[in-house]
């Protein structure tokens, strides 16, 4: 395309572009979707080589317009003829994708010269069986947050989202994340940190189960970010497939309850022949990724079952007494947790039994901080998973 100098622009007008999607890549990027750091999307079309440069046409494009292109409803030629902001950029890139020359053309002028073939259509929803790490990195920078992307695929999830995916995957993953950050939502004192980090799920899509978990990026005076360090340990754990590294990774996360949640996730992957992809991106462009399929889940589960047949966890839970039965040989208790919809039932330890008569126990709504030990017994071929709770101590909560 021959262009007059009056249409020339400084190359800085188009900032640094990052590839977020390949719409057509045949040994060469023919049609891509690219993003600026501020999240502006461009459709980038390769026209030809000219004097060792790549002649490419760019238009700014909305996600809604992209959907039409991906579905084949809108041809690539029409997308350029009817660019949303009425401007087409004509770009010359060198072979390192550095923009060397930049021109613009109003759409009506471009459409009269548009060399793109009439019937060039994508007509193929790009395969999203991966987690686009570049998208996560851009999102992380845009929001200045840590973004953990997850994608769970399984045959049973193809037509609709199933309850097991929420119960045995999403909930344990969310809890693992919180626990790795040292947050126990059952405990009032941890809620400040939870609020400060503003942990939340965004962009949840139900085709299989895909979404992002986001949390604030809080660094100390030295620029260190404790969340990244702790979350990276979760990825070390996810990527551990031999006994030695698995034991070391578990020591590093230093929270036995994580193991229980991890087992839930591994079980759901294994039982449903699912594939789990997770990636973490930080505003500092650090990335961590993992992939767990049925074979890998079974391999890890085998090691865990051998090494940790019983997982012990002690936690402090705010709640109210519902019941104390001292009339039986091993007295039992029941308490409802304040911050979760769950009633803990179990046995009292002998140490606590000695203290019980000294306590002024109130069953009429008084709040206590309970110290509860839980033993998680792994599922075996002959028995299902079993959890046992033991009340170690309790203190009255001051209002």
């Amino acid at each position: 395309m021959e262009l007059e100098n009056k249409y020339s622009l400084p190359t800085e007008v188009i900032g640094k572009l990052t590839v977020v999607e390949l719409l057509d890549f045949v040994d060469f990027p023919l049609l891509t979707v690219e993003s600026t750091i501020s999240g502006k999307l461009f459709l980038n079309y390769f026209e030809r080589f000219r004097d060792n440069f790549e002649e490419r046409y760019l238009i700014e494009i909305s996600e809604a317009r992209l959907k039409l292109i991906r579905s084949g409803e809108l041809s690539v030629k029409d997308a350029f003829n009817r660019a949303e902001n009425q401007i087409v950029f004509i770009c010359y890139f060198d072979n390192t994708s550095k923009l060397i020359e930049l021109y613009f053309q109003p759409c009506d002028l471009f459409s009269s010269l548009n060399p793109i073939t009439d019937n060039y259509k994508i007509n193929n929803e790009p395969n999203r069986n991966d987690l686009p790490l570049n998208e996560l990195l851009i999102l992380s920078k845009q929001r200045d947050k840590l973004v953990l992307g997850f994608y769970l695929t399984a045959k049973s999830l193809q037509s609709s989202l199933k309850y097991w995916a929420i119960k045995n995957f999403l909930t344990p993953l969310y809890e693992m994340l919180l626990q790795s950050l040292g947050i126990n939502l059952k405990n009032r004192k941890d809620r400040d940190l939870f609020n400060q980090l503003n942990v939340g799920i965004t962009d949840l899509a139900l085709s299989s189960l895909r979404g992002n978990l986001e949390l604030n990026n809080i660094s100390n005076l030295f620029g260190d970010n404790f969340q990244t360090i702790r979350l990276s340990k979760i990825f070390d754990l996810f990527n551990s497939t031999d006994k030695a590294t698995l034991i070391k990774s578990l020591d590093d996360v230093n929270n036995k309850k994580i193991l229980h949640k991890y087992i839930n996730i591994l079980n759901s992957v294994s039982k449903n022949d699912a594939i789990l992809l997770t990636s973490l991106a930080t505003p500092k462009e650090e990335t961590f990724s993992t992939r767990i399929d049925k074979a890998k889940a079974n391999q890890i589960k085998k090691i865990i079952n051998e090494e940790y047949p019983i997982v012990e966890d002690i936690e402090e839970i705010e709640g109210q007494f519902l019941e104390l039965d001292m009339s039986i040989k091993q007295p039992t208790f029941a308490m409802s947790a304040l911050n979760e919809d769950f009633i803990y039932k179990g046995k009292l330890t002998s140490e606590l039994l000695v203290k019980i008569p000294l306590k002024d126990i109130n069953f009429k709504g008084k709040e206590y901080l309970f110290t509860v030990k839980t033993l998680y017994r792994q599922e075996t071929s002959t028995s299902p998973e079993k959890n046992e709770h033991f009340l170690l101590d309790f203190q009255e909560l001051t209002p």
């Binding site: 990052t18 023919l30 390192t96 994708s97």
Partner: protein, 124 residues
């Protein structure tokens, strides 16, 4: 395991080893020349933009001669070869079922001298 250092989660999890006959565009007529089996990432080592793009580390193949011709007409290629892909070449993935476009990520054991070319046609 792979000839190139691949980005995370690459190739896609459902890529598989296959024995299959496919078509590929070549720069020259020697089907055993390694130059015909270099990925975009290998050909553009100084280009950082596509370093983390999985498909930039793979090779494109098509299930028909016509599509191979059509999809590569803008590239500097001169031949279309009919190739017997073997399981030990690497992992293959149907990138676009509508145009029969496959991407192959080569194992480090791949040698171009072992490729069996069934037919080769010069592009006019």
């Amino acid at each position: 395991m792979y000839k190139e250092l691949l980005p995370n989660n690459c190739p896609p999890c459902d890529a598989s080893e296959q024995d299959i006959i496919l078509f590929r565009a070549f720069y020259n007529s020697d089907s055993n020349d390694l130059a015909n089996y270099l990925s975009y990432a290998q050909l553009h080592t100084e280009n950082e933009k596509y370093k983390n793009v999985c498909r930039a580390h793979g090779l494109s193949f098509f299930d028909t001669m016509e599509t191979a011709l059509l999809k590569t007409k803008k590239l500097d290629v001169h031949f279309i070869a009919k190739i017997q892909i073997k399981k030990d070449f690497g992992k293959l993935y149907l990138t676009n079922k509508n145009d029969g476009h496959y991407t192959l990520w080569l194992y480090n054991t791949f040698s171009s001298t072992n490729v069996k070319c069934l037919e080769i046609n010069e592009i006019n």
